[in-house]
């Protein structure tokens, strides 16, 4: 990956090169975050994400907050390219600023923010220059809980539980089996931790340092980073090469 990092020109924008200029559109992601998992519970939304950002197969950053609060009513979690996530946060900063400047007692709810993000992602996809993220948007406004997802090409939907990346394959089945309406906070956290543990075991870009965020009518709380208990004491792990001799 490092060899393709350097752009063809060192000085000035690519347009100055003339007809054979390099495209400045996104081709592939560089620094990426892995799954985000979220579910609706009795009082609002619970969301979990680990704090890793990988540079290909290197675990480059280990304290990245991939969940941020947006305005008064929303929580955004992102997987994919971290720099694009930071760009999205800048867009949302401006959106919330203008919303506040109206000073009319109204504020953008999670549905509106989700709609805005969908439009941004879809428009970038139309220009063949996508923001390489899968976004999870959750929130509560006037007692209404909302949880939605947008992908990098603009595919969007809302549901009682969502997940990005590997979470779709590993966490959603658990959630489909065990989620129900009006989960208590403790049960919601337990369920999310169960999903994150499976991801930790099976997703090679996951690390054992995660945050769980909660959003209710009162506001957003993002927990301090912590680690899950894991179990590796399986007998098959004790002598892993037993039976391997001669098994060419």
């Amino acid at each position: 990956m490092a060899t393709t990092m350097v752009k063809e020109n060192n000085a000035g924008p690519a347009q100055l090169l003339g007809p054979e200029s390099a495209s400045e559109r996104t081709l592939y992601p560089y620094v990426t975050g892995t799954s985000v998992v979220a579910l609706k519970y009795k009082d609002g939304i619970l969301m979990a994400a680990d704090m890793a950002a990988s540079y290909g197969s290197t675990l480059r950053y280990k304290s990245v907050e991939r969940m941020k609060s947006i305005g008064k009513h929303s929580l955004l979690g992102a997987s994919g390219e971290i720099s694009d996530f930071q760009e999205i946060l800048r867009y949302l900063d401006e959106l919330i600023l203008y919303d506040n400047m109206w000073d009319d007692g109204n504020s953008l709810g999670p549905k509106e923010v989700h709609s805005y993000l969908t439009r941004v992602m879809y428009n970038r996809r139309n220009k063949f220059n996508p923001l390489w993220n899968s976004l999870v948007l959750g929130g509560v406004k006037n007692g209404q809980k909302y949880l939605g997802m947008v992908s990098m090409i603009g595919v969007n939907f809302e549901d009682n539980h969502v997940a990005t990346g590997f979470g779709n394959h590993l966490a959603r089945p658990i959630l489909r089996d065990e989620w129900h309406e009006n989960l208590s906070f403790e049960d919601g956290v337990k369920l999310l931790e169960k999903c994150m543990r499976v991801l930790l075991y099976r997703d090679r870009s996951a690390i054992n340092k995660l945050q769980i965020a909660k959003i209710t009518e009162e506001g957003v709380t993002i927990s301090q980073p912590y680690a899950l208990k894991t179990f590796w004491g399986f007998s098959a792990f004790q002598n892993p090469t037993v039976g391997a001799e001669g098994s060419w």
């Binding site: 592939y28 139309n126 996508p130 992908s151 603009g154 595919v155 939907f157 779709n168």
Partner: protein, 223 residues
């Protein structure tokens, strides 16, 4: 160094099937509610049906982001039409608008496979069927989407429209009653669900007739 190719596609197929059947004084539009990507299910409760006007209901499957954008676009155009003409758009007018909208993006298409159902100006059921770039025709019934190859032959068998070449011209609308048509739609989706992995979860049916609009739902297999 050769030019790097992008390794992403601006399109995805989120699956699903849509059906519409026209009757003498009603129209039935139906679609499943499953949204998939690759071999995963994203959600089991996503509506592919959009009411564009009082007498026009569209069901679209394909790439969900394009479908959503298309529905939004048409809804906005209908609002403008109402402001300018002080009336609802007729179904044939909406049909033409949809065709033009699709062709407008002929060289970067909306990956949306549509059926438009409704009542024409005489109150008779009408169904229009489209491809992704806007070629369309008025028919008595149609199926689009991932299950269309399974559904269409069965509808042909049960509802065979008279040939458009016959003289005098015969009505394309089915002689079936409204209840029989709804029952046929349920049967057809139950069958498509068995063999099409992208069709299932729940069936949403919209029935348009002189009395207004009605919704019905039916559970489908979730595997």
């Amino acid at each position: 160094m050769t030019k790097q190719q992008a390794n992403w596609s601006p399109y995805d197929n989120n699956g699903g099937s849509c059906v519409a059947i026209a009757g003498a004084d009603y129209c039935v539009i139906a679609a499943d509610t499953r949204m998939s990507t690759g071999y995963s299910i994203l959600t089991r409760e996503y509506s592919k049906i959009c009411k564009l006007a009082d007498k026009s209901v569209m069901a679209s499957s394909g790439f969900q982001a394009d479908v959503k954008a298309l529905q939004k676009h048409l809804a906005a155009r209908h609002l403008i039409y109402q402001h300018q003409h002080n009336k609802q758009m007729s179904c044939p007018a909406m049909a033409q608008l949809l065709s033009n909208t699709l062709y407008y993006k002929r060289f970067f298409p909306y990956y949306a496979f549509n059926v438009l159902g409704g009542l024409d100006s005489e109150g008779k059921g009408c169904v229009y069927t489209y491809d992704a770039v806007g070629s369309y025709e008025r028919v008595g019934y149609s199926a689009q989407g991932s299950g269309s190859t399974l559904i269409m032959p069965f509808l042909d068998n049960q509802l065979k429209s008279p040939s458009p070449l016959l003289l005098p011209a015969q009505d394309a609308v089915t002689p079936l009653s409204e209840l029989e048509a709804v029952d046929l739609v349920k049967t057809v989706f139950a069958s498509a669900t068995e063999r099409d992995i992208y069709t299932g979860d729940k069936l949403e049916i919209v029935i348009l007739n002189a009395d207004g609009i009605r919704h019905e739902y039916m559970e489908l297999r979730k595997d």
